[in-house]
Amino acid sequence: MSILQEIKNAVRSRSIHVAYVDVGSCNGCDIEVLACLAPRYDIEQYGIYVHNNPREADVLLVIGSVTPQWVDKLRDIWEKIPEPKAAVAIGNCPISGCVYARRGTLTTPPVENYIPIAAQVPGCPPRPTEILSAILSVAPLIYKDYEEKHR
């Protein structure tokens, strides 16, 4: 492993940019992601920055079961994120559709059908600590030795 790669690993582990996209949720998971920003959980002390800009993101948090409007747009957003990237499904909605996956629904879960999902955080909504540990656990797997693996 080259020294350059090691430096990259070290820097990347302290600088994870997160964007979240709401593809038809109830808002419960959105505000739990926001709550991670609160000084009590203090997501930034781990080097995770939450902002809502896919162009500079590393991790995409997908929230919600997919509504008709988002079927094609979700893919577009995913393609705008620069490599290396990972998507984390937050809440039951992107995993199974939660209570919306019933007769008469307009949603088409799961999100895995549209973009690759690296990790899932079940719960309705999950606690901020669960979200936090999921992001922290998925990030090293994706970014460690990225250049070495993808030569």
């Binding site: 000084p39 009590r40 959980y41 203090d42 002390q45 039951n92 995993i95 199974s96 559709g97 939660c98 209570v99 996956a101 019933r102 899932q120 079940p122 719960g123 309705c124 606690r127 600590t129």
Partner: protein
């Protein structure tokens, strides 16, 4: 000017200064009263299916036959951690947060009834519901393919060309009949009542 004083006061509070220099928050644990995914208490499950029938999330809980007998299983990713199954289970098989303590202290419970309803204008007399019903099959294994039965103990049977409901109280509310009906003529109503105190003894 007033605002500058405000900000200075804000940033010279000892609490703030302390927080500024020791930023790392302690690892946070979920408090004991948090309703997490229901876990098993080890009591024996009687396979009454009350938990499955009250669960509001699709595919969240299933009562499965394991080595040691029946056992409910919770599927994270489907379960919304509402805790209704914990409250509804008459045997106390499931536990989550402090729901069990609270319900046993306040003597609160849910009691449920199931009602069957057949719309005669939609029903085609195919007998699918009578044949598919697991309770029916247990009572009368020789239930005919047309839904007629010699036994008086079945929940429903085809009698004189129409579905007759005999023992509504035996229904477990599983909705198998509803799902097997080609016309959605038979509908199962799950009625739930939240109760407290003396009523619990008789329910």
């Amino acid at each position: 000017m007033r605002s500058i004083v405000y900000y200075l006061r804000e940033f010279f509070r000892p609490e703030w200064v302390r927080k500024f220099f020791f930023a790392k928050t302690a690892p946070l644990v979920a408090p004991s009263y948090f309703k997490d995914y229901p876990s098993l208490t080890g009591k024996e499950c009687t396979q009454c299916l009350t938990c499955m029938m009250i669960c509001p999330a699709p595919g969240a809980i299933a009562v499965l036959h394991k080595k040691g007998g029946w056992e409910p299983e919770i599927y994270p990713g489907h379960c919304i951690r509402c805790g209704l199954c914990v409250e509804a289970c008459p045997e106390g098989v499931l536990s989550s947060g402090r729901i069990l303590d609270v319900t046993s202290r306040d003597r609160t419970a849910f009691s449920s009834w199931y009602r069957l309803q057949v719309d005669d204008t939609l029903c085609m007399r195919c007998g699918n519901c009578c044949v598919s019903c697991p309770v029916n099959r247990e009572v009368d294994p020789q239930l005919a393919g047309t839904g007629t039965s010699a036994s008086d103990e079945v929940i429903m049977r085809i009698e004189g060309g129409r579905v007759t409901i005999l023992h509504e109280e035996k229904c477990t509310g599983c909705k198998t009949c509803e799902n097997n009906c080609p016309n959605r003529a038979i509908r199962v109503a799950r009625m739930v009542e939240g109760i407290q105190g003396e009523e619990e003894a008789e329910a």
